[in-house]
């Protein structure tokens, strides 16, 4: 008899709602990644104007908390600053 008695609302609307919130979360992560790459580029350019820095020695790290995220930037700056500066012998 169960075939004739259907619950008024199935599980599909729940699936739909869960999917929507998951996708919102995924998109927020992606926009975060974009922000990080913008920050990385601009900080790199700013410091690069004053010191010759090696792209391989720049570390960006983001630690996500529940409401905020912490950005840690670790850049190695050589003493002999610009590659174009005259080298003292």
């Amino acid at each position: 008899m169960n075939h004739f008695i259907q619950t008024p609302v199935g599980s599909a609307p729940v699936a739909r709602a869960r999917l929507q919130s998951l996708l919102e979360y995924d998109r927020s992560l992606i926009s975060h990644a974009d922000l990080l790459s913008v920050l990385r580029e601009e900080i790199f350019a700013l410091i690069g104007r004053h010191a010759g820095i090696d792209a391989n020695k720049v570390h960006f790290m983001v630690v996500r908390g529940s409401t905020t995220a912490t950005l840690t930037v670790d850049i190695e700056i050589p003493f002999r600053v610009r590659p174009t500066d005259p080298v003292c012998v």
Binding site: V9, P13, A15
Partner: protein, 271 residues
């Protein structure tokens, strides 16, 4: 110059390999030269679905590494004389496939065949990226289920910039293939509908493949469903999808099984 299609999904077990074999065989039955390529190095399955596992001697990795010629690794299908299989290696790691090597093999295949259909491994790692790297078109396989739809959404994102075609300013043609669809469950609100899925994955629909026991039967027998289960609803849906890939316009329907009145009265078989 043939077209290269990647069959991808992100999530495993949604029907990539079944779909690769079914679409390949359907196109070959139409008289076109088709090769299906297994990119799932280490976990190859396409040879099993095609029923060619006992004949595999060389594989994609051997050809990529240049140890054997392409012609030595290609296996002709036992039933269709325009369908070939290039199997994956079962023992070597994914690292064995270099991008340059894959580029060379795909280009050779493109010269020889009308269609090169690449069966992607699950996931979004190197193997999956390599499978989509040289594609002209992508078939994104999805089940009406939350995790599958979410993973396919990520794959669509990757298809925007990972393939060479996208990198060089072009745009990959993308198709959505919904598999394991059960209209009865949708009707009683227990499954995501086609519209629900398309809202999240807004790409042209290639086909709707119904859930069916015939898929397991074809896999048991080792033949593409479009070869051994020709009269089944699944086969008809795949044949229509293959014709759409080929540029034909075919009305989109959800094929139904031809059930007897008695079966209908007794209710649906348990899924």
């Amino acid at each position: 110059m043939g077209k290269v299609i990647v069959v991808t999904s992100g999530k495993g077990g949604v029907g990539k390999t079944t779909s690769t074999a079914a679409l390949g065989a359907a196109l070959a039955r139409g008289g076109q030269n088709v090769v299906v390529v297994d990119f799932d190095v280490g976990l190859r399955n396409l040879d099993l679905v095609m029923g060619a596992e006992r004949r595999v001697v060389f594989d994609l990795t051997n050809v990529v590494q240049g140890t054997v010629k392409l012609s030595q690794a290609l296996l002709l299908d036992e039933r269709l004389d325009t369908l070939y299989l290039l199997p994956a290696s079962r023992t070597r790691g994914k690292e064995a496939l270099t991008e340059d090597g894959v580029a060379r093999v795909i280009s050779e295949l493109r010269d020889q065949f009308d269609w090169v259909i690449c069966d992607s491994p699950a996931g979004i790692e190197r193997g999956a990226i390599l499978a989509m790297r040289f594609a002209d078109e992508a078939v994104v396989v999805v089940n009406p289920e939350v995790s599958s739809v979410r993973d396919s959404s990520r794959i669509l994102g990757l298809l925007d910039f990972k393939p060479l075609k996208a990198e060089t300013g072009g745009r990959l043609e993308r198709h959505l293939l919904i598999t394991r669809f059960d209209p009865a469950r949708v009707a009683c609100g227990e499954m995501l509908s086609v519209d629900d899925i398309r809202e999240v994955l807004p790409v042209p629909l290639l086909g709707i493949i119904p859930e069916s026991e015939d898929v397991l039967r074809a896999s048991n027998l080792g033949a593409p469903i479009t070869v051994c289960g020709r009269e089944s609803a699944v086969s008809r849906a795949y044949v229509d999808a293959a014709r759409r890939i080929n540029g034909e316009w075919i009305e989109m329907t959800v094929p139904c099984e031809n059930k007897s009145l008695l079966t209908k009265l007794l209710g649906r078989r348990a899924a």
